[in-house]
Amino acid sequence: MKMELIQPFINAADAVLSQGLNSPMQMGNLTMEQDAYRRKGVAALVELSGDIEGRIIFDVAPRTATQIASKLAGAELPESDAMVREAVCELANQVIGNAIAALNDQGFHFRVHPPRLHTSEHGARSTTDIEAMVLCFETSSGSVYMNIALRYTNSAEAATAV
């Protein structure tokens, strides 16, 4: 996966998480996911289709998700609260939406689908066609993970080859 695809997600996560949590965020590890993806906690999945297609999983450990949701809501939420899951989905929507906006302004055209809760324990592993990359962001409330598995479709490759 080319860095030009990843950088907008890093920038968007930095902007959204820093503003939302009102504290700076640090970029943690960036790794290729060789094995099948294993969910860490509360996870939201967003699918993309168009010049770039694939999926992004936004994943947060339960305790971290609760802390983040409580900060965003301005009130303490219990760990089991449905609003915690809603908050993670909305946060995913914002980070991914902002990244998509940047990519779109670079000339890629695609559609982002509404986030949905990802409840499966595992996800697809990298293939020769689609590599999965895991970004870790260290926030004041704990680690936030984004598992990104995207590929250019034929139309995008044709456009970039020009």
């Binding site: 959204v16 503003q19 939302g20 949590l21 009102n22 949701a69 409580s70 900060k71 965003l72 809501a73 301005g74 449905a82 609003m83 809603e86 908050a87 989905c89 909305e90 946060l91 929507n93 914002q94 980070v95 991914i96 939406g97 902002n98 998509i100 906006a101 940047a102 779109n104 302004d105 055209h109 982002v112 689908h113 509404p114």
Partner: protein
Amino acid sequence: MESERGGDMEQFAAIKRSKDGQAVRYLIVDDSVFARKNLARIVESFGGELAGEAGDGVSAISEYQRTKPDIVLMDITMPQMEGIEAAEKIVQQNPDARVVMVSSVGYQENIVAALQRGARHFVQKPVKPEVLYEVIKYVLGEDGVVAAATGAGA
């Protein structure tokens, strides 16, 4: 989620309807309950009142007809019917409707499409309350009036 500041919500000088001095009524449309609740919190800090909520474009149209709000805050990426199409239908049926798009997918193409199809303004998520406050004042124009300042955000 719209106010990503967490904790106490900043208070703004209330924006009232100039015709009767009543609170501005908002219809909030977003498929995320969390986003709707946070947007409601923000507009309440502007002295606004929640007229209704909807989780998709189709419900937004019926909720608009039912509640006749002063302002619609409309997400774009939603199931069933997306926000831009819903905004267009609302404005076709109600030419005076004031629809403000509130979305994270704020790329030029989307913004232009939304404005061409009837939206009055576009606000990027995560929403900064002070930005939305200025947009609301702008969109209301002479139909809105700012009451005496009550807080630091005035």
